[in-house]
């Protein structure tokens, strides 16, 4: 088991390094530059060049990358060239927001989609199964910006049940925070529901056709007991992996929803820093999201391993 953990962690580091190189290279050749972002269009080219020199942005790429990596590795995330602020507190505050939204979306959607997925799996090819599968299929199909706009107008503006600016005032209690973040989390839930329900259904169908369920039934055990004790645990394993793989998107991929609901999350920050050429912020946020994606996958795999003795006790 420990070997499994070490090996997987060993794989995360090179992948993260690869991400940092990828981001640095891509950000480097995106048109526009940090000097323009700071000085705006009306500064003369000479002024822009002077600022670039002052920021050291005109040093060769490898030199800058090495300088950034050197400081980043020892924990100094550096300052944002554009916002003249230390990157770490700023990015971590954004991370907190993104995690809050992700958590709320997950807490609401995971139980429902698991429940319905299992019900569908138990009633394979019956009307309830087709209905749930179709709903899941359709909801996942709707891009977040489409459902986001509709939800925003209907619940935010017309009915006014929820604030349209998803920024709970600092002192807000947990309940109020959830209330304020519910609106932006709805589009996320719609997309997630499809993924999780379908995987839960597939897991259940496969398990119900397995040999050990046949044994359990033919041992004369009551059906409900067979489902709860034997089927459920093995059916949910693949679903945990799916949930793990969605966390990365939930934390760093929501630029669209964050723009619509003016929610200061990581997604929008990555987008802004990519377009605005703020490399230190871009690297920090992209690596953070990549790390979260990989670690959540690893956590999911660990959980699956723990629940599945075949892996836990492998010699």
């Amino acid at each position: 088991m420990a070997r499994f953990l070490l090996r997987r962690l060993g794989l995360v580091l090179p992948a993260l390094w690869l991400v940092s190189v990828l981001i640095f290279a891509l950000a480097e050749i995106v048109p526009g530059d940090v000097a323009r972002t700071i000085l705006g269009p009306y500064a003369t080219p000479e002024q822009a060049a002077a600022l670039r020199h002052q920021l050291g942005a005109d040093r060769p790429v490898p030199v800058r990358y090495a300088a950034w990596l050197g400081s980043f590795v020892i924990g100094r995330w550096g300052d944002s060239m554009v916002l003249h602020r230390p990157v770490r507190p700023f990015v971590l505050a954004r991370l907190q927001n993104s995690l809050a939204l992700a958590l709320i979306a997950l807490i609401c959607v995971v139980p429902i989609s698991l429940g319905l997925g299992i019900v569908a799996g138990l009633n394979e090819d019956r009307p309830v199964d087709t209905a749930i599968s179709l709903i899941g299929l359709s909801l996942t199909a709707i891009p977040e910006f489409v459902s986001g706009v509709i939800v925003l107008v209907v619940f935010g503006v017309r009915l006014g049940w929820f604030p349209i600016i998803a920024q709970p005032p600092p002192g807000a209690g947990p309940l109020e925070r959830i209330h304020d973040l519910l609106l932006p989390s709805i589009p996320l839930m719609l997309v997630l529901f499809g993924y999780i329900a379908r995987m839960a259904r597939a897991g259940m169908v496969e398990v119900m056709a397995s040999g050990y369920i046949r044994t359990a039934v033919l041992k004369g055990l009551p059906l409900r007991y067979v489902i709860l004790r034997h089927a459920l645990r093995n059916a949910l394993l693949p679903t945990i992996t799916v949930i793990g793989s969605q966390v990365g998107w939930l934390v760093g991929g929501l630029v669209v929803v964050e723009t619509l609901f003016t929610y200061p999350g990581l997604g929008k920050l990555i987008y802004d820093s990519a377009v605005g050429h703020d490399v230190t912020v871009l690297e920090a946020t992209a690596l953070l999201v990549a790390a979260i994606f990989m670690l959540s996958n690893l956590a999911a795999d660990l959980l699956v391993a723990l629940l599945n003795p075949r892996v836990r006790y492998s010699d």
Binding site: A15, P31, P143, F145, V255
Partner: protein, 269 residues
Amino acid sequence: MPGRLIRNAAFLAGGAVVVFWIFAALEWKVITPYDPFAVGPAHPLAPPSGAHWLGTDDLGRDVLSRVLAGAAPVLTIAPTATLLSLLGGTTIGLVAGFHRGLLDDVLMRLVDAVMSLPVIIPATVVLALVGRSTTNVILAIAVLFSPLVARTVRSAVLIEREREYVDAARLRGDRGLFIMFFEILPNVTSPLIVEGTVRLGYAVFTAGTLSFLQLGIQPPSPDWGLTVAVERAFVQIAPWTVLAPALALASLIIGVNLAADGVRRALAE
């Protein structure tokens, strides 16, 4: 196989929607009541009426015509991008799955790295890098989807390479390349087709999102994602300008997914 497909209601429904949009994409010049590009400053944001069944947009253009014409860009980008990603992905998957060893690890780490970033970020940077045009959008989506295809193909190849007919081929002295492309590839087409149809659904989804972020297709294209992005400013006073393209996009994606689901069931039986 086709027999089972026809009987599957979901496949028929999905297929009908997809065929409708394909027809629209090919024939919009003929079937649109108005010229989708003709500007009508006199009547911007007019509500649905006899003259304009789905009303007009902020520049007075007929929304229905633009929605019908809007099928064309998506239906050129998504399938092409999916096809390219299948080609790229299959090659990577085959090589990684068959050769194992260092090559496999490196490729898979690359796949992890690309997949760890939410699709939007590399897409943003790539499109900002090479500039915005339909071909670049296709390339961007193809580049982003290849790793996912590679991962599926690799897992299928890992199973096939252990099969005895591969040993027999090695025994004859056939080279790795021949075995990969002539012996193994024909037997991984089934997961490939399933992956392809699923990718197609996501390609339409991603193309729409890229247009929404105004990174993809350029105005005055009637592309749905772009239209939703531009028209969402008028969503309160002229919701039809946003709802029409949004529902069109959703219907196409659902159609493709239903059809894909049908194909998968037929193959699985």
